[in-house]
């Protein structure tokens, strides 16, 4: 009986890692949604409906997603929470500066980040004109 070839072994490891990643993603999503109220779940559902496929994959995996500003072409990372959650990224993908703008009414986190996404993708200058900036605490 011969040993598996290096390429076959590599494929096996990749398959196993992909399977572990899928399980980890499923557990993270389950934990996040288990702690949510009905309103928050509705907010997440609406957000998921409006994210692009790439943004949705990123959100499911990491709990954040990136958007491109319509005016400057800059990339912003929006994290899933209700404030101080937007980071302008530099060319290397590091957090350069934080931006904070939110809907005037109290909304669930899913609605807040969806409003921020649409604002940056359709009216970036107007959104940043009302925003406050802050220094990211870590990279």
């Amino acid at each position: 009986m011969s040993a598996p070839s290096p390429s076959a072994a590599g494929q096996g490891i990749r398959w196993s890692l992909a399977r572990v990643a899928r399980w980890a993603h499923a557990i993270r999503s389950w934990q996040r949604e288990r702690r949510c109220t009905e309103s928050e779940l509705r907010g997440i559902k609406l957000l998921r409906e409006w994210l692009s496929p790439v943004q949705l994959a990123q959100f499911d995996r990491y709990g954040y997603f990136d958007v491109v500003g319509c005016d400057s072409g800059k990339t912003y990372r929006i994290c899933y929470r209700c404030g101080t959650n937007i980071y302008e990224l530099d060319r290397d993908g590091r957090r350069k500066v934080g931006w904070c703008f939110v809907p005037v009414d109290t909304l669930v986190a899913g609605d807040v980040v969806l409003a921020q996404k649409i604002a940056l993708e359709t009216s970036e200058r107007r959104a940043l004109a009302v925003a406050r900036n802050f220094m990211p605490s870590w990279h």
Binding site: G43, S52, F101, V102, P103, D105, L107, L114, I118, T122
Partner: protein
């Protein structure tokens, strides 16, 4: 059925209407004007799925999303 989705404290409230029904269409237009007049932004999705802000009521829009005015946090 066309839908107007309004973000609120409960997540969202959805208003469904038949775009072929003149009365329902008028009500939807009035809702659009009332919300945008109160500072809400109306957004629709383009054919490619990207969001676009709209300032006029579009009877042909399948789904319109309204979110409140944005302020510095």
């Amino acid at each position: 059925m066309a839908t107007q989705i309004v973000m609120d404290h409960s997540g969202d409230t959805r208003h469904y209407f038949d775009a072929n029904d003149a009365k329902a269409l008028l009500e939807a237009e009035e809702r659009f004007l009332k919300l945008t007049g109160a500072g809400f932004t109306a957004a629709v999705r383009t054919a490619s799925g990207e969001p676009a802000v709209t300032r006029r009521f579009d009877p042909a829009a399948g789904e319109t999303l309204f979110f409140p005015r944005l302020v510095g946090g």
